[in-house]
């Protein structure tokens, strides 16, 4: 049988594809998008990349809140009444076709006067005339062509942050000055250490002063603008009595500048302006390299980034109105539509609710609620519309309260001493004592050289190569991990990951997959006829458990049911001829005593005779046992689950013996658990996925969020690991340990250069040209070493 894949989205079209223009489509949504594109001459979209689209999934009324002027005002970047500019986050942007079609929006609607895609950030910036096309219409248009923007409370609360480009400016200034100073130093390089008195080249001596003062001018912005951060950081370090690596760097820059200035004022020599500008340039380059971030990922997300901006409120006279979620008060009646998120804790008033709490708990199976039940914020309604009454305001809700914990305000980086700062202390002490000893020696041997030697030691010992080792190694590791779908927030995370000695895992969604696709049968075996009838009955139902059970049962002939009925919240029944089958909860099929315990079960009865039950199990990720076994040799492990103990026995079989398992853990409990481990001096790695882990992820030294789709959602964390790479987790930890070793080797390498340089400095023979050669040479060889070493490490990771 031929398999048709949808021309628009690439999905399997099933048995009966919809055909338009001889192209198969999986659904009317895809067909419509194709027709929109074809009509507007945009079918080039499919030439760029086949099956680039996504099935549009539009819910009526979802964007009504975009008509509220206050919300429009907050979302738009520019708004003068008619012309509006808006930045929208479109998670679906994934290929060049997406860029093309979004930048040709004006052909779909002439009211759009311009649109520009920022691919790495998955943002599109659209300029449009709001009198012809309102923001809501624009968003609906995007959703109709399959590029539904993601608008959350975060967009409303945070006005666009200014981009910090100061590092690029500084790098530009330093690079510009470095290049020019190098050129201006050439006369001095060729005319080594000669001057008028010793009979140097006449013309060179004639213009010496011009060149030198020009170099001085170029170095001013380097010292006072580009190198400013080093002085600030060194000052801050000293004030909190810390000798960080910036102290010797700042000292080096300062001494270089002062000595060079004095040299040219009193015409002692040409100064070290080339080394000075080069030093700052290389240091900034290291910073720049380290700064690599994954702009399309967010590591700072809190509940705001997936809460809606507004929700529908039903006023006392029965009218519907959009209300900003911050304005929801206790007692408000809210209308939650299909696929909408519940923003506050409340009570269900009307309608049937099937709530998906997977954002909150990681548990994928929706929970059924009936009128009068309590609903918690963060759940997503999956079945039609419902009405609820708010019991609390947004910030008071059970889930959102977690964010008032101080752990979310703490600045992690200020506490942690990096490997570079660690060595910086000893290094500074060492250099200063060498400088003092050498100066004392020269004070007696040749007092005129003493000052020269003192400054020379500080100049040559300036730890440029040491300061570069960590940024380049870790920056490179960041990229290597990123290519292997392990996205880290910053380089600090690698250092902390290397020190981890305890690993705590969440269960649901972290070591289990989101799908529940295994089930075991207990009871009287079903006859082939019964199984066929069961399968055909399940076929008619849309309930997720029916869908999974349908997938599990063996293939049966499709036959039409004579009767079929679905009893909401209880089960389904179907019949063919004389035979009739029921599937559902225990009391629905007529079994009185239930021994279900804690597992999800589906009971079966045939012709009112109880047959047995299917017990569903969490499906564990591939390689969970191996990962845990490998880790258990080096790390202490534990499972921290928000679920009940239903899976305890299976887990015990899967995991290494004596792995502690904790069940029924509340979000705050998880946080406290991590905290108590840290008080025992443990360095904790927390692996989780849901918002209920957010506190624990923030508290742990390293919080890793597992995500099935890195673009969609993950709680605030230090690293995001793609679920498909779960088995690799331990190898990534080992790799970061090795990266730290590489840094230590580069320290040794750069210290060797320092020893050579110090020889010249202590003996009073340091020429500017030696400094100018030694400094870049040591930096470049350290950078080369770390790059080669990390790439070798990366090859081993495969």
């Amino acid at each position: 049988m031929e398999v048709y894949n949808c021309y628009h989205c690439g999905d399997d079209c099933g048995a009966a594809p919809i055909e338009v223009d001889e192209k198969p489509f999986c659904c009317n949504g895809c067909r419509m998008v194709y027709e929109i594109f074809a009509e507007n001459d945009l079918s080039y979209y499919y030439d760029l990349q086949s099956a680039a689209g996504t099935t549009p999934n539009l819910i009526e009324g979802k964007y009504d809140f975009l008509e509220t002027p206050k919300i429009i005002e907050r979302l738009t970047e520019f708004n003068d009444g008619d012309l509006q500019i808006v930045n929208l986050y479109v998670p679906h942007i994934h290929c060049s076709s997406c860029i093309w079609v979004l930048e040709n929006l004006n052909k779909l609607n002439p009211a759009v006067s311009g649109s520009q895609v920022d691919f790495p950030k998955k943002m599109v910036r659209i300029t449009y005339h709001s009198e012809e096309l309102s923001l809501k219409q624009l968003v609906v248009l995007l959703a109709r062509i399959g590029y539904e923007p993601y608008i959350s409370l975060d967009d409303f609360d945070n006005k666009k942050k200014a981009v910090d480009r100061s590092l690029i400016y500084k790098l530009g200034v330093a690079g510009f000055a470095f290049g020019n100073v190098m050129f201006l130093s050439f006369p001095d390089y060729f005319d080594l250490s000669t001057n008028e008195v010793s009979g140097g080249e006449f013309w060179l001596n004639e213009y010496e002063a011009v060149f030198r003062w020009l170099m001085f001018t170029f170095s001013l912005p380097v010292v006072f603008y580009a190198g400013r951060d080093y002085f600030i950081s060194a000052y801050k370090g000293l004030r909190s009595r810390l000798l960080n690596i910036d102290v010797p760097i700042a000292l080096g820059i300062l001494v270089l500048f002062l000595r060079s200035t004095l040299e040219i004022i009193f015409n002692w020599g040409s100064g070290f302006f080339d080394s000075l500008t080069g030093l700052v340039f290389f240091l900034l380059l290291g910073k720049f390299f380290q700064q690599k971030t994954y702009s399309f990922l967010s590591f700072e997300r809190d509940y705001k980034s997936y809460f809606p901006i507004a929700i529908t409120r039903i006023t006392s006279n029965g009218k519907e109105e959009s209300v900003q979620v911050h304005d929801i008060k206790k007692g408000d009646r809210l209308l939650i539509r299909n696929e909408e998120l519940i923003p506050v804790d409340g009570i269900l008033l009307k309608g049937n609710a099937r709530i998906d709490y997977s954002f909150v708990t990681g548990e994928s199976e929706p929970v059924r609620k009936v009128s009068g039940d309590t609903l918690f914020a963060g759940g997503k309604q999956l079945q039609g519309a419902m009405e609820m009454e708010a019991l609390k305001s947004v910030s008071q809700s059970y889930l959102t309260q977690l964010w008032s914990n101080t752990v979310f305000q703490r600045d992690r980086s200020s506490k942690f001493q990096t490997i570079t700062d660690g060595i910086g202390k000893r290094f500074t002490v060492g250099v200063l004592s060498i400088a003092l000893v050498a100066t004392c020696f020269w004070l007696f041997a040749d007092a005129s050289k003493a000052m020269n030697v003192f400054t020379a030691v500080l100049i040559i010992a300036c730890p440029c190569a040491i300061a570069l080792a960590a940024p380049f190694t870790l920056g490179n590791m960041l990229r290597i991990f990123g290519r292997r779908k392990f996205y880290l927030k910053d380089t600090l995370t690698i250092e902390q990951l290397a020190q981890v000695d305890t690993a705590i895992f969440d269960k649901t969604g972290t070591i289990t997959t989101a799908k529940k696709s295994t089930a075991t049968y207990e009871g009287m075996p079903l006859t082939p006829e019964e199984e066929s009838l069961l399968k055909n009955t399940l076929r008619a139902s849309n309930h997720p458990l029916s869908r999974s059970l349908y997938e599990i049962l063996s293939e049966q002939n499709i036959s039409t049911l004579d009767e079929y009925e679905e009893h909401l919240g209880r089960g389904i029944e179907g019949s063919i001829g004389e035979n009739h089958i029921k599937a559902g909860s225990a009391d629905f099929v007529g079994k009185q005593t239930t021994t279900d315990g804690l597992n999800t079960t589906v009971h079966i009865s045939s012709n009112d005779d109880y047959k047995g039950r299917y017990i569903f199990h969490n499906q564990y990720r591939e390689g969970v046992s191996e990962v845990f076994r490998e880790m258990s040799y080096q790390l202490s492990l534990a499972i921290l689950s928000g679920d009940n103990e239903g899976e305890k026995k299976r887990l015990e079989r899967l995991l290494p013996k004596l792995t502690p398992l904790y069940f029924n853990q509340k979000p705050a409990g998880k946080l406290a658990f991590i905290e108590s481990l840290q008080q025992q001096g443990k360095k904790v790695l927390m692996v989780g996925d849901g918002l209920n882990d957010a506190g624990a992820l923030a508290q742990a030294e390293v919080g890793v969020a597992i995500s099935e789709n890195v673009n969609v959602f993950s709680p605030a964390c230090d690293a995001i690991l793609d679920a498909s790479k779960f088995q690799q987790l331990y190898r990534y930890i080992l790799a970061s340990k090795k990266a730290m070793k590489i840094i230590k080797f580069s320290f040794i390498l750069s210290l060797l250069y320092n020893v050579v340089g110090l020889y010249f400095a202590v003996t009073g023979q340091l020429q500017p040209v030696i400094a100018a050669i030694l400094m870049p040479l040591s930096s470049i060889s350290v950078v080369a070493f770390t790059t080669v070493a990390t790439n070798l490490l990366a090859n081993k990771l495969n």
Binding site: Y46, P120, R165
Partner: protein
């Protein structure tokens, strides 16, 4: 040899011009997104045309590769 002043001035002026160009480029946000422009420049201009020339294009497919698509409309 005092021509060296002229030469130095010229060289510095040229350098400063380039430096200013760099600063302006950064300020305009050209360094914010270094990926999208590399894709954008590969899009073919002929396909970004206004609807008035639409009919013409349908009748006269210009390139073999596009032919199939256009006829299918």
């Amino acid at each position: 040899m005092s021509v060296i002043y002229v030469l130095l001035t010229i060289s510095i002026v040229v350098a400063v011009i380039f430096f200013t160009a760099f600063i302006v480029a950064v300020r305009n946000g050209q360094y914010d997104d270094s990926y999208t422009p590399s894709v954008r420049m590969l899009f073919e201009d002929e396909l970004v045309q206004d609807p008035s020339s639409k009919k013409q294009k349908r009748k006269l497919p210009q390139r073999e590769g596009k032919k199939e698509n256009i006829q299918l409309k």
